[in-house]
């Protein structure tokens, strides 16, 4: 099929297509989000006629790139494939994950669907574990309004510790405010206030044990807590991408492998196996999405249940 480690994953990021542009003072903005949230409409609205689609070498999945001018700065907007999660389950999701995690975008915009915010927060929270340079774009605000769903964006922003901007990309509403938020974040990253999800005493103890060794081995732009968590859960595909990005395998680093073994023993001691560990992590994130959504989303009338019966996702 031609989808090899080199042609997908971090391998393709190393083909420098994006990094060379980075050197010419253009800021890179990744547009990520679940499928069907109006991401491409937003992309077109932001880039206008400057859009050109670029086929990444060796890929069947394409990512469009376009230029957005805002206040005499130009931003390269990268429309990355829609994904529900950074725990990649498909080739497209792997591309999306690798771009967010290792592509070093100056800002990552998570585009969310205002009509079902809770589900979309999952990706947002997974992304803020990777990087603090995230803007949440709550799109389809017009649709939400029709369904009598209102969202307290200010509270949402405070809860997540990242800027949150409401847009209706179809009618180009909110795009300026979104670009303002992107520009502010790109120019002067504010103090890191992002919501940190904690996974309970046992897992946190294992992370604390592992993290210093991981931090020593990683370049500064990669979050050591996040990598520690992935090492603990043994996310093989992600670790392979990380290895190819770093050009070395962290799991064979003597300092790390020793700590990883100790952390594993600690978790085994408390009967937390790997599958269990993943369940616990996902559960914590999903529960956090649930509680944040409960605080910020107000639905007048039976909006959610009475929604039109459009299928959001067909699981194949």
């Amino acid at each position: 099929m031609g989808l090899t480690g080199r042609s997908t994953g971090a391998g393709l990021l190393n083909c420098r297509g994006i990094h060379t542009q980075n050197e010419s003072e253009q800021l890179i903005v990744a547009l990520a989000g679940n499928p069907n949230v109006g991401k491409s409409t937003l992309f077109n609205g932001l880039t206008g006629l400057n859009q050109h689609t670029g086929n990444w070498p060796g890929k069947t999945v394409t990512g469009a790139r376009g230029i957005c001018r805002h206040k005499d700065k130009s931003y390269v907007m990268v429309d990355i494939p829609g994904t529900y999660s950074l725990m990649a389950n498909s080739a497209e999701e792997e591309v999306a994950r690798d771009f967010i995690c290792f592509g070093r975008p100056d800002v990552t915009v998570i585009v969310a669907d205002a009509t079902c915010l809770e589900r979309n927060l999952n990706l947002a929270l997974q992304t803020t574990e990777v990087t603090g340079r995230v803007v949440l774009c709550v799109n389809l605000m017009d649709e939400a309004k029709k369904k009598k769903i209102s969202i307290d964006l200010e509270l949402l922003s405070r809860r997540l510790g990242i800027p949150a901007v409401g847009t209706s990309a179809r009618s180009k509403k909110g795009l300026d405010a979104l670009m303002e938020a992107i520009a502010a974040l790109a120019e002067e990253p504010p103090a890191d206030k992002r919501l940190r999800i904690t996974y309970g005493d046992e897992i946190e103890a294992a992370v604390s044990l592992l993290k210093p060794a991981v931090a020593d081995a990683l370049p500064e732009h990669i979050d050591s807590r996040w990598v520690s968590l992935r090492l603990l859960e043994g996310d093989v595909k992600l670790l392979a991408s990380l290895s190819s990005h770093l050009s070395r395998d962290l799991t064979v680093d003597p300092g790390i492998s020793q700590k990883l073994e100790e952390a594993g023993a600690l978790l085994n001691h408390t009967d937390i196996g790997r599958d269990n560990l993943r369940d616990m992590m996902v559960t914590r994130i999903v529960k956090t999405c649930e509680s944040v959504a409960r605080e910020v989303v107000t639905v007048k009338k039976e909006g959610y249940a009475e929604r039109d019966h459009r299928i959001d996702r067909f699981l194949t």
Binding site: S85, N89, E118, D279, V282, I311, F314
Partner: protein, 82 residues
């Protein structure tokens, strides 16, 4: 309806219009992860909205989103009827 496992039934046996909560997932590996990514965890409320005339797949309301699951996925989600 048969209550196969202590009052739990597989999701594919839940009739349209009845609400239930997830009590456990019996899948593993990638399939389990996909379910988790959809927000299907212990305690998640699920309601079948409508069926394909052939009975498969079924559209479910899960956390405010409508998701179509085939029975090979839904039979691995155990629920208890509310």
């Amino acid at each position: 309806m048969n209550n196969l496992y202590n009052g739990q039934i597989p999701l594919n046996m839940l009739p349209v219009g009845k609400k239930a909560v997830v009590t456990s997932l019996t899948s593993d590996g990638v399939n389990r992860r996909r379910m988790l990514d959809l927000g299907i965890i212990d305690g998640t409320e699920i309601e079948p909205l409508y069926k394909n005339p052939s009975g498969n797949p079924v559209a479910y309301l899960i956390r405010g989103a409508v998701i179509a699951l085939r029975s090979d996925a839904s039979e691995r989600i155990l629920v208890s009827i509310l």
